[in-house]
């Protein structure tokens, strides 16, 4: 029956050693270990929460980015439209101006051509007159070189003259 009879010596030593072990471990081992474990769990928790917050933030950021992009697109569109408008205006104006200029130039060209033409005609007329006079002179000289001929001419002239 020795097996199931607890011995006082072992109970004494067990109480003493286990008590000391319990005390020492509670103070120097479990306390710091548990504190560290709790700290770690907290830091993991915090990190997780932070990750969720960051995700949320990212989502918001993405949304605002999209918004921004959309706005930018719209702005670009309006700017492009404006630009097109302005370009069209400028083009129109330029065309008009060009037309006007062209007309003006044309007009002035025409004028100068007309002027030149007139000049040329006048000159031509003058030259023709001069030439005619010279020819007439030469002819007269020729015709009037002898008396017969002078007589014929006068006759002829006389025929043409209408006496009214």
């Amino acid at each position: 029956m020795g097996l199931v009879t607890p011995g006082i010596g072992l109970i004494f030593w067990m109480t003493l050693s286990f008590g000391i072990l319990f005390f020492i471990l509670a103070k120097f081992a479990w306390k710091p270990i548990m504190a560290t474990l709790r700290e770690r769990e907290q830091s993991i928790d915090e990190a997780l929460q932070q990750a969720i917050a960051t995700k949320e933030e990212m989502k918001a950021l993405q949304f605002s980015n999209e918004q921004l992009l959309k706005e930018a697109k719209e702005e670009r569109d309006t700017i492009l439209k404006d630009a097109r408008h302005i370009r069209d205006g400028i083009l129109e104006e330029a065309k008009n101006k060009a037309n006007q200029e062209y007309n003006r130039i044309l007009e002035s060209a025409k004028e100068s051509i007309h002027y030149e033409k007139m000049n040329a005609i006048t000159e031509l007329k003058n030259q023709i007159a001069t030439l005619s006079i010279e020819i007439a002179e030469k002819l007269l000289k020729e015709e009037l070189s002898d008396k017969a001929k002078q007589k014929v001419l006068i006759d002829k002239m006389m025929d043409n003259v209408n006496f009214n």
Binding site: M1, G2, L3, V4, T5, P6, G7, I8, G9, L10, I11, F12, W13, M14, T15, S17, F18, I20, L21, F22, I24, L25, A26, F28, A29, W30, K31, P32, I33, M34, T36, L37, E39, R40, Q42, S43
Partner: protein
């Protein structure tokens, strides 16, 4: 013949020798344990005696025997007899064969294996006078206890240093091995049984108990010197552990706990008055709980060792019949030893777990607050 018995007995000193076939063992050991006393045949291998010797405490730490030379570590004997403290080394008993200063290790009788006082009768012959000194000797189990306490203390203080140094970074080395177990005790034992709010108060005790039982169960499986003592299979040790649990439970019991014992709610009045049947049942329950803790751990660990030793005994029982038979059986015994060893590894953990879990449950019951009468 005596020599042969000693040889057989000692050479199988490899304590935790596992073997199975419980039925067979019971037959063998019962036969030898009780019948063996009267018709002991000198020189015969006595399995029951050998097993009891291996699972009991001793005054010296036997390492091995070669032939008749016993190699053992003598341990100090501390006795209080008639108010006097006597201290000497156990080697003075010469392995239990000699007496010293009127003390000797009883070889027979009710106090077999314990130190008894002897006195001389009229004829000058030394006789056991049936008086026991208070025995505070550093026995094999006490030595194993010191070693394990030192080991556990060293282990956990050194890993706690690592925790302090590294802060909340991931554990490293030994800490990474032990942390899952610490977390298991914290989350699955303490938190779930005691509750989120108050578990921290009981955690140091639960952790200490868990690792104390677990480590000593494992050390008990090692057949050589630093292990080999059947510490958690000793009733004094389990008794002390159970008393710790009992004291903590009793002192942390709140109003509801005591009310439940004295005047259990939801029970018909005639079970309380005039005969306080329920209070008596409840009060018995208070003492049953730690008692069950004590017996369960003791019985499980001791049974494991007994089965193992029983199996190894088979080799010698058959070996005495026929040497060849002994060799043949040894193969089977060793196979079963290995199997039992693996099973005992599992049991070492399960028993530590069960003891800690039940302690935690008792604490949880003591501090539970009943909001409603049920």
């Amino acid at each position: 013949m005596n020599m042969r018995m000693t040889f057989v007995n000692r050479s199988i000193m490899n304590k935790y020798i596992l073997g199975v076939i419980l039925l067979f063992f019971v037959f063998v050991s019962n036969n030898n344990l009780f019948a063996g006393e009267t018709e002991k045949e000198k020189g015969k291998f006595n399995a029951g005696e050998m097993i009891i010797e291996h699972i009991s405490d001793a005054y010296e730490w036997h390492v091995m025997s070669i032939g008749e030379t016993h190699v053992s570590i003598p341990l100090p004997v501390i006795l209080i007899y008639n108010g006097e403290i006597k201290t000497f080394m156990s080697s003075n008993f010469h392995h239990g064969t000699a007496s010293y200063e009127d003390f000797k290790i009883a070889e027979e009788g009710a106090h077999k294996g314990k130190i008894v006082h002897i006195s001389k009768d009229a004829a000058g012959k030394e006789v056991d006078d049936e008086t026991l000194p208070y025995d505070f000797s550093i026995t094999k189990n006490v030595m194993a206890l010191f070693i394990s306490v030192f080991l556990i203390g060293f282990l956990f203080i050194s890993i706690s240093r690592g925790y302090k140094k590294r802060g909340p970074a991931s554990p490293k080395g030994m800490a990474s091995l032990l942390e899952p177990i610490i977390l298991f005790v914290r989350d699955d034992i303490a938190k779930s049984s005691i509750g989120e709010k108050k578990y921290e108060r009981y955690l140091p005790f639960l952790l200490t108990v868990f690792f104390f039982i677990f480590l000593n169960n494992l050390l008990g499986l090692i057949p050589f010197f630093p292990g080999g003592a059947n510490l958690t299979g000793n009733i004094a040790v389990t008794l002390t552990l159970a008393i710790f649990t009992f004291i903590i439970t009793t002192f942390s019991g709140n109003k509801d706990y005591w009310k439940h014992i004295v005047n259990a709610p939801g029970v018909p009045w005639w079970l309380k008055i005039p005969i306080p049947l329920m209070p008596i049942v409840e009060l018995v329950g208070v003492f049953t709980k730690p008692f069950v803790l004590m017996v369960r751990l003791f019985a499980n660990i001791t049974a494991g060792h007994i089965i193992a030793l029983g199996f190894i005994s088979l080799i010698f029982i058959f070996g005495e019949m026929n040497v060849g038979l002994g060799y043949g059986v040894s193969v089977v015994s060793v196979v079963f030893y290995v199997f039992m060893g693996l099973l005992e590894l599992l049991v070492a953990f399960i028993q530590a777990y069960v003891f800690t879990l039940l302690s935690a449950l008792y604490f949880g019951m003591a501090i539970e607050e009943h909001h409603k009468e049920h």
